[in-house]
Point group: D2
Chain length 498, copies 4
């Protein structure tokens, strides 16, 4: 059986003393093993990154960007392989894996703009013949710790930007789907990235803590659940690092009485059940304004759920694949049980689903609750599964109050035709990423990704312009030149020659 | 005797249950008392700021800026009063106090550009007929905790930017020189700032901790010593706040063999002894490259020190006033003792100084050490007094290695005529603010102030563009409109009217 | 009788060889005379501006901005005097004159941000140890030629930005209302602007041509009618100058069936009749979508027109003052005659209006045409009077086609509640300044003013960010330093000293 | 014999009614023919561009950029073919042709950043609940007219930026080396660019005038000689187009007494003789400060000229190839004759050069004049040949005065080690592109290319940020929404449902 190891200083490194099974969620079978890095292996990666840093730091941004251009080519040429790895280990449908891959590549494209993005600010004559400018210099060695649900995209939110800014990078991907990171590393090397600039260590808490404790690591980007995000943030900060830690979500969509309901329903189906709901931007709560709206909405969702096709991700005709692990499957199922027990109306129940030929896969069908109230665990918790809750309210303000009161503030969305409603919503809602008739308002690569409240710890968001600021430190130079140099003295010394 | 109280919700608040003496450092006498806020008083300020927030947040940036324009006028009209208060409580010479005041006013001027500074990023057609934009929204209630050494400037680094970004603010100034903050608050009210948008609480650790623990406070800016900065940073972060905490410094100036030495000496005199060395940007180490350079440099400094005039700050003919407190005076004197004991050459000794008529003032004369080595406490520690150390090195690389090895990385400077030396230095030195023939490279108001290493905890620097990012959170909106609205339906509904 | 002269090099200059009457449009009486500058006087202004340029160019932007700060204070302190001068010579109601004044002051405020606005772009390491940056340097002497309709605002669109960018300026205001420019000049001097940086020459075509022909004048900003704008643009360009020339307008407002009609009608009343329609952003065509919309719209406008109060601008209870001159009055009246003759429905006729006590004033009442067609001169021409035309169309596309087919493309507006309609309109309409439920979408000072098609000749718009680019030229520096300088040689020369 | 035709709407178009010979300058032989487009063919291109515009305008910038990414790949894959075409028709050495090609590709890379570059400015709350933003919309059909000396690079300065901004493009390349443009067009099509977005018409003045007169063409970018640039600028402007027209140059390099002379001489050799001096950024005047500097400089240049290898561009061991045409060869030779006659010291004379086996090629050897004075035609005129003039001055100010007095202001450079001299020079010199120890300070792709004085007609420079502004027009939207829509009414309509 294959063991996925590490990638350090341009080479595959085994360090297989401790290993863990990697499952195929569509079959429930063990597909391979992943090595869990020891502290020493993490240190080896840090040393490699440290050694590669000075030369990389001095490499012109244009040159760094040229590697990203080549990388984009190679990524596209190897898309099929990467996407297959995602589906095999994560379970999501190939098309969906390809979608994730594309969003990651878009950050690589953005990183190609390094010469523009790294421009400093130049002030002539801040005083008489005194100039000042601010540069944005790299931090040194930085690390990324990424979750299972987007094994390609989330790492690519981080390292392309970190690297073009002149840093060297260590990626600690999820041990559930570790192969993708290794593929990404191999292609970076092939694109011409000097050894040691990008390194992958697979592992568990030991690897994470080793990175957080290492004084050579100057910054950490994390995406995962809120409790771990908070742990990473505080531990990293205390160790003198810059940290951005993105946590959980419970994204609400408001459906207004004037919404184009067919459009809203189509949008919600994808946003709630796509990737089995294992997305931090998934819509898990639909807030219907008015009972008429709610009745129609629920009826239409129910109808569409009847044709939702669930099965192995390798078959693109499926709408949804399995959940990531047996444990997670049980957890999500437990939430459905709890919702039912708490008195929510279970409109569609995904618990009984059996996918023929994949009886041991972690498949749960699309589940819909109506009449959900805010005290139920299906409302308060991030389920990370194919469960959509409908909450009914009387007016838009009530809907917004709900959202603002929730612990998380990652994404949200409103369905309406009304300019005023949209403006009021986007202005006032306490959420970082807001959609108007767009169910998954993931910012494009030239903007930045980040939630509010307990969905993000840190000042700066992921990728986009904020990433440039996160992965660099500002240096401000103030310069004047004393007179009496060659320019002026020359006037006296040379006439005698004539 | 006057007691300096608090300024909350547009009103002077006493809360004088606990008080502390405020000294005049030029005389050693108690000039007034300062009230130390209780937790309840701090909460009163937070409540006022919280209450003022919604309306202030919705006030157009142009309107917010118009108050800053008026504020600038009022500050200038009241300059004399503010400057006198600084000198009385801090001790620095009036001219120097005026200089600090001006640098603060420049941040107010920068804040007047709010409509430009708060522009978001707008992307048309991120997809077909889908637009996206990022706004920079205020955080809510934010706080500033400021040190004794710049009672006007450092608060003004913070609140003008925080306020024009739409936040409401609570200032906790130093209890050593608390009057200035109250004056600043009164003028803001006079400028038209709504009550509760800016509040001052005087106090000690109780006030600080109350601010750090309050869930309603969303961000804290701090300037002070490194140990406290680190405490504030970690405690604030753990409490879910955004924090920027600026700490200590040990700023080195490299003097190259080709430097204009007269210019360098003049510059060093001001940078080392101005404001009695109680500046986080003071030059406290001169690194002379080559013994010839060192010999000349020390001789010229010694000569100038002989005419350095020390006395009460109220007399503008003095170059330097007293230290801030008796305790601090003893501490600085102790460092001079230690330097002598450690074997550094004491070229000029300020310990015996007596200022006639001010025998109880905390006056220490300008002190110069030569042949200082890096293991001496006068080298390793931030003395915050009128003590300049000369370290001798053989070449520029050695000088730079010294600087890079020091715990702090706030400011530094090189004296040279050579373009290549300046470029190499500014590029590679591990310090946040770098001067070329500029001894105190404090960034102008349109850049940002911040050190590296243990001189700053946080991602973003003070004032300037970084302050806009620090005092706002990014919200990204993605918007599409469903078709079939009034634009298209109109084509069908109206012809029949004809 | 007073004669308004010129203001050159900080002094009032008479040059009264040729003069022209200045009328009070509310009475028809001659209120004063204006001197018409000879070529020699214009040259005197150019020489003054040229002489003042080198020192002003080298004045730090912060210093230049500080004069603008002071200028803003003085403008506000002298608002009443300026506003009175506007009303006396132009005729508009005092409140309206004050509104114009405020919009001008806002550009002064924007200009106060010069240190931020003039930042160049700095690129570290465009090659190995090679840096490059772009500066935005001033042009030299530049000129502004401004129209009668905004004697304060339009000059203030130009000179504050030109001046803070480091240029020196010559203003040639309209000879119809020349006093305001002189007041503006006096206050600039009082604010501390060095003599010669800002100069005013009153005059006619001789002055204009002198400016256009002078090789020392590097740029010209113009606002006026399209034929003159085109003349200025071509003549200035041929003479090697940078030119931006803003011309005429015929601004349409689309009223959609879903619009809030009361709001739309209120907005249209102000936009069509405010300042007697003598605004380049006035709405002169309302395009009603659907006959129902049109019928209601016309009825409501008619009703409001019945209470429109016309009289001398000195009385703030008036909604509208007189037209600028007798000739213009006749011209506008002629258009009304022509519209009637062409078959448009004259809903309200302003021709018979007599203002008691001001029988010789140039008063024309608010005029409304319905059923206007695109071949009528009241539709094709810019009338610049209180005449609103209603055109009826069946759907929004037809309305947009109308607008796009018109010669001008200055401003436009749509009244609707529908997000999709607004987005489609703002995206596709061929007009430079677009309002959604905002009838006069004059960009705020931190954006830029400019129309499309034959409403603007030139690449860059007035004020705002474009003004910085217009009033500066880009200089790009690429810098590397040869090795072997003091940094490296020092390693060899100094050890011997030890 | 091959005839190079046109490329319109994705297809090769012949239109060979009028043709002209294309020569191989290394042999003097006719290598092919080029078709000269009729007015009808130009119109065909315009029609194609016009037809392609609406869809291309609405294509998201990310999508447009993705074609540029693919284009970069294809360019690199086809580099050899393009470079060979350049050398065959232009004559320059292959390595040099490859250098030009790379600089062009860098603009393509910059254009890949379209989503970032096209961001508009968004202002929240310009008034209460009123927002405003500025978009940068494409112009429509635009054209580029390019010179013989950079048949790949100069077109690539223009069309990548024009196209990613959403415009459609017509290129009229030089008829001397027309093949490269066709190759560029074929690869764009292969990269996925929709037909009609990029078109090539070969031709002469008829084609140029047809483009300048066509009302559908909204902007023209031109690079060539100053008289033609001025013609294009005025004619284009009069026809209502936006024009940027880059003209001639006479670039001076100042050699200071403290310069690293070996470095300067190496730099000058490449800058003066590379590409046979047929570059608008070539150094054609070296200004030596002091006779000592001059004597050494001339001696070292003379020495290096003795080994300068001249021959066919297909041989990479050559330093320099032939001039472009027989006529141009005669013209350059005439300048050498004139310089000699005028009394300049002819240090090296390239006139007698015979390249064996290429006796009919247009080869002229490297030529060096010393003691050149400013009244000689070799000083005043742009020779565009391998002729370097040394002018001797006494001090730096004199050198700068020379440069500032010259008609052109394209590029310039100083050789020095002194920070103050460099700063004074870059600040004050009246030239658009300035080098410090960099002989050819061509701005990198993220800055913009443009000279001052009669070297550029227009407000905005080529490529880089200025190109975004040149190829777009600003549209500013101001938006408010009337209240009483679905958000508020919903509060009243729905409670009844309960």
């Amino acid at each position: 059986m294959t063991t996925v190891g590490h990638f350090i200083n341009g080479e595959h490194i085994a360090d297989t003393a401790r290993c863990q099974d990697v499952f195929n969620p569509a079959t429930g079978g063990i597909s391979k093993q992943v090595a869990l890095a020891s502290k020493a292996t993490v240190q080896q990666a840090i040393d490699a990154a440290q050694a590669a840093y000075p030369a990389w730091r001095n490499t012109p941004p244009l040159k760094r960007a040229s590697i990203m251009f080549k990388y984009k080519e190679l990524l596209e040429a190897n898309a099929e392989k990467i996407v297959a790895a995602i589906t095999e280990e994560h379970g999501k449908v190939l098309n969906d894996a390809h979608g994730e891959f594309i969003r990651g590549v878009e950050v690589v494209e953005y990183a190609c703009g390094a010469p523009e993005l790294l421009k400093g600010e130049h002030s002539k004559n801040v005083g008489p013949a005194i100039d000042s400018w601010s540069e944005f210099q790299p931090l040194g060695v930085v690390a990324g710790i990424t979750p299972f649900n987007f094994p390609a995209m989330v790492p690519m939110w981080m390292f392309p930007m970190a690297i073009v800014c002149g840093n060297t990078f260590i990626l600690k991907p999820s041990e559930r789907d570790p192969s993708c990171a290794i593929l990404l590393a191999e292609l970076l090397k092939e694109a011409g990235l000097p050894d040691g600039v990008f390194n992958v260590v697979n592992g568990d808490k030991e690897a994470v803590d080793s990175l957080l404790e290492a004084p050579e690591v100057h910054a950490v980007s994390f995406v995962g659940s809120t409790p771990i995000a908070e742990y990473i943030y505080n531990k990293g900060n205390s160790a003198g690092k810059r940290v951005q830690a993105l946590g959980g979500a419970k994204n609400h969509a408001i459906v207004m009485p004037d919404a184009d309901l067919d459009n809203a329903v189509n949008a919600l189906m994808g946003a709630a059940y796509g990737s089995c709901g294992e997305r931090c931007m998934a819509i898990s709560v639909a807030v219907a304004v008015g009972n008429d709206t709610a009745d129609t909405l629920v009826a239409k969702l129910k109808e569409q759920l009847e044709t939702l096709k669930v099965g192995p991700g390798t078959d693109n005709s499926n709408d949804m694949g399995p959940l990531i692990t047996k444990q997670h499957f049980e957890k999500v199922k437990g939430y459905v049980d709890a919702g039912e027990a708490a008195g929510a109306t279970l409109v569609a129940d995904g618990r009984g689903l059996v996918v023929e030929g994949h009886e041991n896969g972690y498949f749960l069908g699309g589940t819909l609750f109506d009449h959900v109230s805010t005290d139920m665990s299906i409302y308060t918790d991030e389920i990370f599964g194919p469960v959509l809750c409908v909450v009914r309210v009387e007016n838009m303000q009530e809907a917004m109050d709900l959202i603002d009161a929730h612990e998380f503030g990652n994404g949200t969305c409103i369905f309406t035709r009304d300019g005023e409603a949209a403006r009021y919503f986007t202005d006032n809602i306490k959420v970082g990423m807001v959609g108007v008739n767009v169910p998954l308002p993931v910012p494009v690569a030239c903007h930045s990704f980040g939630g509010w409240k307990r969905s993000l710890f840190g000042d700066l968001h992921a990728y986009g312009p904020d990433a440039v600021r996160f992965y660099t430190k500002r240096k401000t130079v103030t310069q004047r030149w004393p007179s009496g140099g060659v320019r002026e003295t020359a006037q006296f010394s040379f006439p005698s020659n004539q």
